[in-house]
């Protein structure tokens, strides 16, 4: 009987949602495999986190060390390498996040273990691991077999699994001492908060959001006029911010804002998962995209498959008329 390990992700005193999503999936996998679920917690002064995790896992392995206070892939890698060699879990899950993307590939190479990144589903079948992930911007799902190994490493996409309530697992909290050496070649300096803009899109009831389909900056007024007619605010997908056409505080998605307006209109946005993470809980979603296969149509309530340059001006006009009359 071997174990499923989940690396807890926490930042600035908070355990991140992805941790609970992985613990839910991990619990299920452990039950199927007849193993136990262990949460691995690396940090400093993290007793509260440990008690919380104990509600979700049979065991919480804690490495408490001042060097682990802030995430540093090099130091986390040392600690995890040690833990994996010692405990030989069947599977170690971590988030496919800014944290996991920096850490997992290096850890896998160091230990000579296979890694499957950005997984949306996992299945342990005897000694084998099968994963589901996406390619081509979410247009294709892929089932892949991971090279057979004693321990499998995976990174998990956010919101792939539902975070269930704690199962009152009454997990045993075990403090372990792991040798960690400070490194002089990589040093945490500080966190920098995103700049606060003049518009708070998270407070808006109506959001008109624009993506790369708008083609050129000079076409943006089309979107602004629609937003104005509706009494909403303009937001956007990442490429629009990358190009400098709209400020960062307008970006919706995993590396931008999470919004839950009453109405979200996605215009010329393909629906990459990083974008969807930021808007999927909107009360009503309308998508306008000329590609009928665009993934955005599987999160939208209503869709228009057409050229935005034809539909948006008509829509603005009809709304103005309806409001004027």
């Amino acid at each position: 009987m071997r174990d499923i390990f989940v690396l807890a992700e926490h930042r600035k005193g908070e355990i991140r949602d992805i941790t609970f999503e992985m613990l839910s999936k991990g619990w299920e996998l452990a039950e199927q495999a007849g193993g136990t679920l262990t949460a691995v917690l690396l940090g400093h002064n993290v007793d509260e986190h440990a008690s919380k995790l104990a509600e979700y896992a049979k065991k919480v392995l804690v490495v408490d060390n001042p060097l682990l206070e802030n995430f540093n892939a090099e130091l986390y890698q040392q600690a995890l390498a040690h833990i994996i060699k010692e405990h030989k879990p069947t599977l170690l899950m971590m988030g496919h996040t800014g944290f996991g993307m920096d850490l997992a590939p290096a850890l896998a190479v160091q230990l000579g273990l296979p890694l499957a990144t950005d997984c949306i589903d996992l299945c342990l079948d005897g000694g084998r691991l099968l994963v589901t992930r996406q390619m081509y911007g979410g247009k294709v799902n892929v089932e892949a077999a991971v090279r057979v190994a004693e321990t499998y490493l995976v990174t998990v996409r956010s919101a792939s699994f539902e975070a269930k309530e704690g199962v009152s697992a009454g997990g045993e909290i075990v403090h372990v001492d792991v040798p960690i050496q400070e490194v002089d070649y990589k040093r945490f300096v500080q966190y920098v908060e995103p700049p606060k803009g003049e518009v708070d899109i998270t407070a808006a009831d109506i959001i008109v959001s624009v993506g790369r389909g708008i083609r050129e900056e000079k076409n943006l007024p089309l979107i602004e006029e629609l937003a104005k007619a509706l009494g909403g605010v303009v937001a956007c997908s990442r490429p629009i911010v990358d190009k400098g056409w709209l400020p960062k505080d307008r970006q919706v998605g995993s590396s931008g804002k999470t919004v839950r307006p009453k109405l979200y209109i996605a215009i010329g946005i393909s629906g990459a998962f990083q974008h969807v993470l930021g808007m999927k809980d909107s009360e009503m979603i309308i998508a306008i995209n000329k590609d009928p296969k665009a993934p955005i149509f599987s999160v939208a309530d209503y869709g228009v498959v057409d050229d935005l340059f034809k539909v948006v001006p008509e829509l603005t006009k009809k709304i103005q008329e309806a409001k004027g009359g």
Binding site: D102, P105, L115, T117, G137, K139, S254
Partner: protein
């Protein structure tokens, strides 16, 4: 500053219909337009900006078939000094780690202060190559880099985390940084650049030149693709049909009925 940039030639599927091959282990690529991977476009730009400021060389390296030379030529036209393409037919099946192994064999004896890659490739989305390459080379790395300030022998970089939060780390050089979109404004390719690129060296290297065999590279792959399929929609949007004017009128009715107008 001598900089190596690893780039990938990828199919652009944002607006195209993706057709899965009969064997279900890949997609049909014949009719798809190919482009430089979006993240790599920012990586090559960052390298050229550094070279313009500090001097040195920029080398663009890819693992890919002959068609991938279009992406290398683009890098040369933008200002890379020379380029290298590594290929063997068997590498079609290679995953991110296998590619990192090939790049490692090609790069390990080259001279460099910095290696840049994209954070991920837009086609397979592995986000593995850069960080795995760093570990193979035994040098430090930082993933998801949105800003680089060079200092004497080190770089202070901003890594992008969730919600727009940035983590600042100082990393000793040589190092590998995986570049996130938006770090700079990629330049357009000029006619002059294209002309100059024709005279630049594009070296073609085989696996055996690197002392590797396809089998050993593929054996180290982490993943084997078993089956591809179109994702079942979690929910299927109600498609509003008709002329733009009809569609607009229907949306107005929907908004009214939900009290949104």
């Amino acid at each position: 500053m001598d900089i190596i940039v690893c780039v990938k030639h990828v199919p652009d599927t944002t607006e195209a219909e993706v057709v899965i091959r009969e064997d279900q282990r890949g997609i049909k690529t014949e009719d798809l337009p190919y482009v430089i991977n979006e993240w790599d476009e920012y990586a090559i730009e960052e390298a050229i900006l550094m070279k313009e400021r500090l001097g040195g060389t920029v080398v663009a390296v890819t693992v890919g078939p002959e068609e991938a030379e279009a992406t290398l030529r683009r890098c040369l036209a933008k200002g890379a000094d020379w380029a290298m393409r590594i290929w063997d037919e068997g590498l079609e099946e290679a995953d991110g780690f296998a590619i990192a192994k090939v790049l490692h064999a090609a790069i390990k004896d080259m001279k460099y202060d910095l290696i840049l890659t994209g954070t991920q490739a837009g086609d397979d989305g592995y986000a593995v190559v850069g960080v795995a390459l760093a570990e193979l080379l035994g040098i430090p790395h930082a993933a998801l880099v949105k800003k680089i300030e060079l200092k004497d022998g080190s770089a202070v970089v901003h890594r992008e985390l969730e919600g727009g939060l940035e983590e600042v780390v100082e990393v000793r050089l040589p190092a590998v940084f995986t570049i996130q979109t938006g770090i700079n404004e990629p330049r357009y390719v000029s006619i002059m650049g294209i002309k100059r690129a024709r005279k630049k060296e594009l070296r073609v290297v085989s696996l055996s030149d690197l002392g590797l065999t396809v089998d050993e590279v593929l054996q180290s792959s982490w993943l084997t693709i078993k089956r591809m399929y179109v994702p079942p929609p979690k929910k299927q949007a109600v498609i509003i049909q008709g002329s733009p004017a009809d569609v607009a009128a229907q949306i107005v009715e929907i908004l009214k009925s939900k009290g949104l107008m």
